[in-house]
């Protein structure tokens, strides 16, 4: 296993997540796509850490990425819940106030 090959795996995970985040209509499924993209970032971060600079700084960065993911999840669920309660919908197409 080399850095390049691990990064290709991470790129594949990222692309799958990106596809989901762009194409899914349901808010929770969009979140799943974003989660997969962050998953790829974690893998790539771990690989960079191991193959280039194995210092504690990289580990702290990964910890921050994991924290960012929890924030994304918590706020995503809260917004999805609110959307569901107020509009009775869970589709992204019905929540487009920020578009214009």
């Amino acid at each position: 296993m080399t850095l390049s090959l691990v990064l290709v795996v991470a790129a594949a995970l990222f692309a799958v997540g990106l596809w989901g985040a762009l194409s899914q209509q349901v808010v929770v499924m969009v979140m799943m796509g974003i989660e997969l993209m962050i998953n790829a970032v974690i893998l790539a971060g771990g690989a960079f850490w191991w193959f280039t600079t194995p210092s504690p700084d990289g580990q702290v960065l990964l910890l921050v990425v994991i924290a960012a993911m929890t924030v994304e999840m918590a706020m995503g669920f809260a917004v999805a819940l609110l959307l569901h309660r107020r509009r009775g919908t869970d589709m992204t197409d019905m929540a487009s106030e920020l578009k214009r």
Partner: protein
Amino acid sequence: MIGTIVFWVAALVAVAAGVEVFRTDSMARASYALAASFVAVGVMLLAFELDYLGVIVILMMVMEMAIMALFMIMLMGMNPALMPMSMVHGKRTATVVAAVVFVGLAAAALLIPWPDRAGAPAADLTRSLGDAVMGSKMLVMLTVSPVLFATIIGALVLGHPRDRYQRYGDDLERDHPDDPIQGGVGR
């Protein structure tokens, strides 16, 4: 040798489970496929000797996906498991963008001459992480913790179905909140 095999099996599982998330019709399967993908990435982190972070990723993501499955079932208006349907929009654009991004990233990963390894990992990585977090990198954690705290408050404010006037009365005159389910500490 065994480590390499485990690593590539985990890599295969991570990507295959990631694809399965969007292929399956079952919401429970989608959630747990994502959990499997995360567990596989956790295993790969273990291969990089990141014991603490690898186990933490497994811990957090299984927990998160257990809750996510509930949200999926609660929020999905219809049940695609019973009524298979396509719930996507802009599929062609998404496919093109994802493919271009993958090709670009993979090409970069393969073509860029990555630098050689500088330095060696600490003997006790978990301890070195703890020292960093409580020492030179303390500011990072001091920033993350209020963000996490604000997230808890924000998510509760957005997600809670009852506001304080419903719980404590119009003039907030009640001593005890009027909740549909009474808590266990006898307030």
